[in-house]
Symmetry: D3
Subunit: 331 residues, 6 copies
């Protein structure tokens, strides 16, 4: 409601320094290597959904620990050599139905929509369980605190791994040009896109797959955790706060875990062009945390500010900016 | 929240008898005749929105009293002889941007999205003012009570007239098959679709335009006013209640006006096939008022019940049912 | 809730500089001249409302563009040569009934209560439509954004013009002393009073009518728009924010329009004595925006601070201060 | 919100039978007799409040147990032989300031506004403490449960006694015609008016004071307690519920006390004409409890139904009906 | 809020017939047998918590699939041959700290408090993860829909199994009399107690452990699912509704799963004495669903009704009734 | 919600200077002396509550003006020479039932729980009326403004006097060691504990009773009133604000009264060791007001900060810190 964060001129230069775990790089390299070693080829099953202009594929690919992750892949009918947008979904939602992912294909791109494990029940349907492997701990309802007492168990370790492998799966999609991929998404989807870009830089990609040509994080979540939790108590950041309310003796441990997953560490790795957006009255992903990621981003970058918007950000209006960005990075 | 309306078995047969003004037919025939006499040819201006698979047109057509109304028309690139869905928008929204209307074109249909005069500021942008001609009265914020003291001045007189003329304009769209039109929309859009179908039956259409082949009102609004206002106090029906709160001496006059606009009177005229949907926990358009319209509908009909949904109804899930219906009525 | 604005010592000197359109003066002079040229004599129809101590008149006068505006005029029975308070109404309300306007007459003054066009349905009844002339644009429910894309179309152009002409009509009321008028009102009524005083100074008054002897704006609205919209998101200022949420590409245009209507520009013109009041916890008209108008006011002035009040301000307690002020300016 | 109580046709005949304590009559006769024995003459101190048309008196009179109760008495300047309305105030408010009580004097009546002991801090200022004499018990914040474990200690024993003695004091007011008094009030004020009328009938009045000529209870409170508490959980009835939430073992005792104070028992005594009003969507004083009092009222009676109003009932619109009623009973 | 469920006389006889899956008995017998086969001896580790009057043990026992579950066991210092209350925890909470479980030991009983797997973050701390074994599905935040698409995967299959095995573990606690156990708990704890009693009857207990001597379900949850979900939309039942909102095509499947876990089927098995309680204004576990379980309960039984309480039910007041009940069943 | 008060480093040194009435000391010395002169011996009536490990006494002692105040005294069965915790209750609650006060006795201490006069209806039952002696004034529902216009009448004058006399009564309890008392409580209980410690220092104690050995104020209320009322508008501080909303002309008088009751003046007197706790997101007793008391405390002291907790503070987790503190001060 109204402006509650830093003044705009301070936001634009806000770049906090947050502690990065000493073994951050090895933690992630090992995680990715292990999951890659368990991966099988992605499956693209063509399905009939009533769209004569498009090809729709039901996708299964190997995510964290070789677990099967669902996705949609949609492309303009029979088109080849396509740039593909790998799209991640906002908190609580799932891959939903193909009808909800028509904008990129209608614009001449392939789109690969990764289901978010465990989610997909709050506002759009998902189809992928979260197999947590049994080493977790009590959690606040929601996903933010699932396994939060240990980086190895934390929910987003699995999700971020899925996200990088989704990128690799998308490169194998029918008609996809593996050298012209872009990652994107809004809110949690934006946070995952940042992580995917950072992990791609950190861990590399298969020889025939290029680093993504760009990233489009809109009003991204999962950045600058400690500030976010102290600044707003809306969910999902509020889930972390509520965990700390009850687990008073495990607060440091929880934030230690989160330091392996903060978008700022991934943004610092990401050297590709980025198009960010921010709602200056965003009470879910407060603007300072979005600017923190943006200002930390290692590559070239552009921020679109929506001065009176809350977490809805630019909405459909922002799609024009995205098309322009896509045109500039994947022609 | 939870079930608050009639039990399901009673809903399915609920068909109230509500008073119809004696001059209802002439009121509407005169209204339509007058506006038709002032109409000019619709304008379809092709625009570039970045969708190589589609043609997008910015439309202006003559609505009530010859006033200019905006619309989008979108079709699969260069396709001719197309069935066209004429789509009306929910309360508070406007025609928005083309990117929000891709589903029908991707499915091989043309879509004609009418802007709703005056609206288009709450959740999606609109571009058409409401010219009320200066004979109105004080109103509750919102559109439900604009001109409510006189049928001639009431806001929906203008909107429903726009809606019928939108149908006629859609018949002239590039590539449109004027004999294969369908009307549809959700919430207010559903209520307008019912009105448009009823008015088409009552007032006829130009010789070369067929009655719409079908209607798809989802969780329709603007039906069974008096029951709705006494049953829920959510907006928009609540706007009527709040008007009556202040204008205690004008209640009968307001409901007298509304009797010219109740969807039940239009449904009783509409002889074409219809696909309805209802959320059985809908607190905005309570299920009994939706069933009232459905049970009154004169043509063949089908109801899809969503037992645990509020006003979001079937959401994207319902699109499959719509494609099936479209396939059955416009092949 | 609680203190959310500047500290009191900063409030007392807060005097922002906001941009004034180059043609502000001519815009308003032309507007007023045009409406004056269309005005007819006000009508005062005596009515029986059951108050033997008073005379009650139902008033119609010519407002913006010659349109007919309603008002009440009430005076102590048969009294002549009366000072008259011209009173404007808060947002959402109308002129209501005579029974709601007894305090000034009981105190020996005439009162002239202007109906606010279009309003009068939310908390007190109104009787005057807003004839917007048909050049508007989509709007958020409420009146704040009606015609906001163009100063010529903006709702408050019509209201402020009505307000100045109300002053001139009041001067013609039975028993009124045209040289002893005072303007006043709370919230929107306070904002309108400021505008009326400013316009009277800018545009002059008929020869036999004196500039108002004083102004009594309580917790005034319509001042320092941009700060208000960024500071609180309560309505009515929130209506502007919500417009900007949807019309992301029209924000500058909207604020450009508002710059023709900001109370600060009128306050800077107003050279007569003023009695202001402010609630230091006012979440509707935040204190800084009230002090902004007060500190800008060109004439002599007095501020009554209510330290723990929200928008209710001084309520009936403030009436004593008003009587004292009236006594000092119109004796 | 919306209709939640009995259908209107059932409301109109709803007349519950509730248990009346065997010693109800003696309880009240003793209470009144004892307080009358301690009463001293009321004091009417003329004060200057800036109303040349009126005389304003600050009143002190003896209430329960001889305790001093404040009131305002206002009459048209120097008028004699006046009918007087004795007015009781809604829950939470006090006698406020004279400026809030101008309508009856402007209409040619005297008005005597009783302060409600202890109240007068929530929405209008009061000036009378509640001296509870030290035999109370723990209470829920608010006044509904003050002394609720014993009829002798219960708060409304003191208030209802004050109310009857206010009637007697009003009969002594300057210019008052002691044979033409009327009681009235809204919400709690309506409930007190019912009690005052019932007690006047039960306990009689001084020889030179007539029974009130009429009663005007608007949306009355304090009627049909048990139904009210089970039907709505808004305050003030909700205060009783919350007491029962904590004092699980004292529920019967609390309702036993309330049975000495239920408006229905007073209504059954009251043989004078009455003008009631009811909001059919009243969530504070639900319509069935208002009709219960109305249908039980022993005298001639008239009910004004406001079909879409909540607890605001008829507001200022109702004043016309009141003037008409007053004219018929005190001419 | 207020009374919203059946009238009290109908509640007292409300006993719905709900479908029981044909393989209900075998499903549970197999489940229990399998987990028993994987169980190891419970561990009771004495700990120092600063209570000289008590012995406090940190407990680990084998629950579902042999997974380790935490508990507290507290007894009066060095006391032997003790009746033991096996206590289950309300939704969202965990076993918390020993300081929160002093009432039974102070009353001379042992208490065995089972941690609820995965929970223990919302209002009291838990220490046991939920190992879901990796065959789940997307879920609404919370535990109600974890694995809801398949009885074998459903969260409460694991919890109810834990609960029966907790009973068996409690029988082995230091000083416990394995022939004098009682199960109990509030809300979810009450629902689990019902399930534990039913499973004990259905599946038997080890030779040296008697069926529990009694059950004390307070305001029990997890009963009569379908009615509950249609009657209230508060959480936790609301989690089921929200799942159905999104997973429109999986509603039947979800309720099919729930039919294996409805407390009514367990109550019908339970032949031991029971002490129930109910809040007649309980909006979380509506009274009809509590009476449904009570009226179905196969053993002797007693219901304590709290007429004005919401889900807090009898609170500490109810403890007296529990002591009396305990005294009667385990003397 | 989230952090809204000063940054932590500023909190830790925040020590405001607030005006202390010149006659503060004499006001309290006279008050205490007068009530002591009216005191009779406390009564300890042993009662059976079903706890074989404990002795439970229903206590009556003389509080303010000799009025009878209830309390519970509980000790480990037959234990003598016991340190005793004198415990005060949070706002709205009463002494409740013995079952709610087991933790100190189970830990080997006596506990003396003072009932709070008049309270005890909101969340736990109380049994002591507030006899206000009849010199009060209108009040906002709740206790914060009872008698607020005069220090002699103010509610907390009576409560704080009760609290000191409770300490003296506890010293006479069966088995109590009058030289090893500690005061404590949460929220209002913490504020009262501060007052009791301060008054004990200011007014002294009987010869055979030692100054309390320590104080344990958790998230204390009743400190730094003026800042609290301007910083949050939650209740109970909000009751003061609401009083000022209505009684605009009595604000200074109200705060003048409060200056006799501000915890900071008592903390400055208190020379014994203290264990404080604070929730850094406490919206009821904002952290700065808690630190204000802590930083003012005259004795040795320790603060436990709960960084993500609201007013629930440390909850049961804090009990370990309390046991450690008790062990250090009363061994």
């Amino acid at each position: 409601m109204a402006y509650f964060d830093l003044p705009l001129d301070e936001l634009r230069v806000y770049k906090p320094s947050i502690p990065k775990p000493g073994n951050f790089d090895s933690f992630w390299k090992n995680t990715i290597a292990e999951s890659r070693s368990l991966a099988r080829d992605p499956q693209f099953e063509p399905q009939e959904w009533g769209f004569p202009l498009l090809d729709v594929y039901d996708v299964s690919f190997s995510g964290f620990a070789g677990q099967s992750i669902k996705a949609w892949y949609i492309r303009p009918k029979n088109r080849e050599n396509l740039p593909v947008v790998v799209s991640y979904v906002g908190y609580g939602g799932g891959r939903s139905l193909p009808v909800d992912h028509l904008r990129y294909p209608a614009a001449g791109y392939g789109v690969f929509v990764m289901d978010t494990r465990g989610q997909g029940s709050v506002w759009s349907q998902g189809d992928t369980p979260d197999l947590d492997g049994g080493s977790g701990s009590p959690q606040i309802p929601g996903f933010m605190t699932r396994g939060i007492l240990n980086p190895a168990d934390y929910y987003y370790r699995r999700v971020f791994t899925d996200a990088l492998l989704a990128l690799e799966a998308a490169a194998r999609a029918p008609g996809a040009d593996s050298r012209r991929l872009v990652v994107g998404g809004g809110s949690q989807g934006g946070g995952i896109a940042i992580a995917a870009a950072g992990l791609a830089a950190l861990c590399g990609l298969p020889r025939d797959v290029d680093q993504p040509r760009g990233a489009m994080p809109d009003v991204p979540f999962l950045c600058n955790f400690q500030r976010a939790v102290g600044l707003v108590d809306t969910d999902p950041y509020g889930e972390i706060r509520r965990f700390c309310v009850t687990h008073r003796n495990r607060i440091d441990q929880a934030f230690e875990t989160l330091s392996y997953f903060d978008g700022l560490h991934f943004a610092a790795q990401a050297a590709v062009p980025a198009l960010f957006s921010v709602g200056l009255m965003d009470t879910i992903c407060p603007p300072s945390t979005v600017f923190a990621a943006f200002n930390t981003w290692a590559g070239s970058k552009q921020m679109v500010e929506y001065p009176y918007n809350d977490h809805e950000g630019g909405g459909s209006h922002h799609f024009s900016a995205q098309l322009q960005f896509l045109s500039s990075v994947v022609g």
